[in-house]
């Protein structure tokens, strides 16, 4: 299992680079990761990440975009604006969670 080091943070990841141990995650690390993909985390960016952390702690799986919409109450268009390209994958990565497995 690869180990990543970034600005003093050391954390284990899977072959794709997603954190394998959610306890090695911190908000400071998320901000450092975000800088790698040119995203600056403001309150709007933090809200879905915090929801994903809380929701996955309860259910054991990374919420899908649909769940962010129906359970988290987030606007899909806004999420695509905040995290352009691959929103859910990027949010899961920033939140220190596995990539979502659900289809919808």
């Amino acid at each position: 299992m690869p180990t990543n080091t970034l600005k003093g943070h050391t954390f284990e990841v899977n072959d794709e680079g997603f954190l394998t141990n959610r306890d090695q995650w911190s908000e400071e690390l998320a901000a450092e990761l975000a800088a790698l993909v040119d995203v600056e985390l403001d309150d709007a960016h933090w809200a879905p990440l915090r929801f994903m952390r809380q929701d996955s702690a309860r259910t054991g799986v990374t919420p899908t975009l649909r769940r962010l919409q129906t359970v988290g109450g987030f606007d899909v268009k806004e999420l695509y604006r905040l995290y352009p390209g691959k929103p859910v994958k990027m949010m899961a990565w920033l939140a220190g969670l596995p990539k979502p497995v659900g289809c919808v």
Binding site: P2, N4, T5, L6, V13, D15, E16, G17, F18, E32, L33, A35, L36, V37, D38, L65, R66, R67, Q69, T70, D75, V76, K77, Y80, P84, G85, K86, P87, V88, K89, M90, W93, K99, G102, C103, V104
Partner: protein, 201 residues
């Protein structure tokens, strides 16, 4: 933007925003695949089970950063017809793969037996099969067709209605899903889908 450290393992999120672009005025040959990956779906069927493939794959493609175009033609036009898309149906007729997992609870092995084709002709059978499928999709938290279209539209999908079908079925634009970008000809679609991977459903 921070430099990615050597040996750092991270997912591929596509080209970095600051990737160098060709200098202004520099000649660039016709792009074969510049920009994001592009997928185009042609929806030609109006049965409930045939509405989902493009919706699910299109949604997945959008989540992977692809540009998504969906062309609704013939019976597939019902999918974006607001008067019809909440009542698309599933039929047993003509589907030899129709078997039901729940029947296995009656007698083991029954879940692998396909339904007799004659059953599909019984009154009320289509309504029953439709209700069952909708329930099973809802249990898996899959949105129904109108909601799914809204989800795709919010994620940036492009919808088009086929002009020939539109004229043939004497439709009106007000019935089309609000995100439909236009009623277009086959040639228009061929133009729009240039460079795309095309999936016919």
């Amino acid at each position: 933007m921070t430099e990615i450290p050597a040996g750092f393992v991270m997912p591929n999120f596509g080209p970095r925003a600051a990737a160098p672009s060709p200098a202004q005025g520099q000649f660039v040959s016709a792009p074969v695949s510049s920009g994001p990956r592009k997928m185009a779906f042609i929806c030609s069927k109006g049965n409930l089970d045939m509405a989902y493939p493009a919706l699910i794959m299109g949604n997945a493609a959008l989540g992977e950063g692809c540009e998504v175009h969906i062309f609704f033609t013939f019976w597939g036009l019902d999918i974006i017809n607001k008067k019809l898309n909440h009542k698309l149906q599933l039929t047993l007729s003509g589907n030899t793969a129709m078997h039901m997992a729940d029947l296995g609870r009656l007698r083991p092995g029954l879940e692998y037996r396909s339904m007799p084709q004659q059953l599909g002709g019984l009154p009320g059978m289509t309504a029953f099969a439709t209700k069952m499928m909708k329930q099973q999709m809802a249990d898996l938290e899959i949105p129904d067709v109108p909601q799914f279209l809204d989800l795709l539209a919010a994620a940036g999908a492009h919808f088009y209605a086929c002009k020939l079908t539109f004229d043939m079925m004497k439709m009106i634009e007000a019935d089309l899903h609000d995100a439909t970008e236009g009623v277009i000809s086959a040639a228009d679609f061929v133009e729009i889908s240039e460079g795309a991977q095309i999936i016919f459903i």
